[in-house]
Subunit: 102 residues, 4 copies
């Protein structure tokens, strides 16, 4: 299982507001049975790679479906195979370190 | 004011766990008077550009201070000047859109 | 057709040199009939989305096949549908602008 | 010395073409005494960190100076301190590996 961050941005739309596109991207991800969360800079979710790529593919189409003619999509995949890597475990691991050394 | 996401990763450390470095990066940002939050893929904070670049500079040094010899830092800046852009307002804007159209 | 940049990095390998992994990623892309080039920060290629995602999937596995247990992959997709967007045309467009205004 | 990749993109401009902004970003970097090159997905250059951050700061302002009201800037820093890391050496290293194992 990998953790992924996706940011899908339309270019040349004439409107500086992007929240409508972000909301539509979330509607895509909600259809899938994956753990996800909204961050101030994108959408983070976890899953197996074939599922992840399928979701990315669909999110990337959202602005085009809404009239955009150019889309910039940024993706970061954090894939760890020496232990189960979930969003929850990753966040817990950092918070534990912060507590330990305080 | 801009919103920024930073991910600082040491390369070639021989240890797949990075939470120690992430925790130390948060100790850097806590010293500054900026609004920030931990995400599963990095650290997000808001501020004026000179302050942002100063914090990035300091976070980027964290793994070197801990013995790393190569560091990969990824930064995304979302800078909006037609209205006040804060993490809180950006998150609210998407959530409002999600509610509206449900 | 879209233009894509991929950077595949193993984490926790104990060796700061990554050129071996980059070379193996290029062996993956050379098997496909796509236009690609090596940049100092990753691999850029152009193609249709299904092909692009297939290549990403395969490149992402390279470090795992070489013993890595954690891999960080960064992807940026620039997808333009109002005109044919190729690497060559995109580079030419910038160079023309640089000449024009000199 | 570090190697850096920067991509500066205006949002909400109403025009899908970005080459004008990219050309202006190159005019910024040409003023500095750094080794740089244009890639299909951004600008790559090498330098010491304080200089790098100064150049980023100036490139990030380019679209605002041209009327944009929102700018998205993506930066990746590859900083290696166990040996001199230059664009030239990094490219050579991968090409050597590709030759060796052919």
């Amino acid at each position: 299982m990998a953790i992924i961050e996706v940011t899908v941005v339309p270019l040349g739309t004439g409107d500086t507001s992007l929240s409508r596109y972000v909301a539509d991207c979330h509607r895509v991800i909600e259809k899938y049975n994956v753990k996800w969360e909204l961050t101030p800079m994108g959408t983070v979710f976890e899953g197996e790679l074939p599922m992840i790529l399928k979701i990315i593919r669909e999110m990337h189409e959202v602005p085009f479906d809404n009239g955009a003619r150019r889309v910039s999509t940024t993706i970061r995949i954090d894939d760890r195979r020496d232990q189960v890597a979930t969003i929850e475990q990753k966040m817990k691991s950092v918070k534990d370190k912060l507590k330990q050394e305080d």
